[in-house]
Symmetry: C2
Subunit: 109 residues, 2 copies
């Protein structure tokens, strides 16, 4: 988890079910996409968790809808999306949302 600015900011929620195909290729691409997303203008942060069944959620945070649109259309990302549809994901959703309230907690005992 990473510090975020005060709302409003934007988020992309991406729940996905992995197929059992191509764990190695998927892993390499997932790592590259995180690296690339972090380098985009307007990127604010990203969290990701995937369980042993292959179900995962990635949430990324952005300064604006334009930043999300630019990331969505990045050539390397488009290539990854095509591979995602053709072999890596059995199912996924994308929800684009405007964060209006936010708070965090850290255990400090």
């Amino acid at each position: 988890m990473s510090d975020k600015p005060q709302p409003p900011y934007w988020t992309v929620i991406f729940p996905s079910q992995r197929t059992t195909e191509d764990a190695e290729g998927y892993g390499i691409m997932a790592k590259r996409m995180v690296e690339l997303a972090k380098a985009q203008l307007g990127f604010l942060g990203m969290d990701s968790a995937r369980d042993a069944s292959g179900f995962g959620i990635t949430v990324s945070y952005w300064q604006s809808l334009d930043a999300i649109e630019a990331w969505r259309n990045h050539p390397e990302h488009l290539h990854a999306q095509a591979l995602g549809r053709s072999k890596w994901y059995a199912e996924f959703e994308v929800h684009i949302a405007k964060v209006e309230r936010s708070y965090l907690f850290r255990y400090d005992k």
Copy 2:
């Protein structure tokens, strides 16, 4: 993943890091909270993934901010939140956001 209505609808994004404490009590409460959330007015769906390190993301979807507020203040949920802060979570964030666009993909080969 579950079918959602057309946007707009609301979402609560809840990334969290579990402590290593009380796996059994946490598991029972987590299950109960899912059951209870599903019974709330305005509940639209919920997805959750937690990895082996104890980092997880839960995303729930709601018809309105009022529905989120009512769920946040449900007495059993308030009790769970207090236990979450005192022992189950090392860290968490809550992002409340309005979903403005949404799409889904299902692999049908």
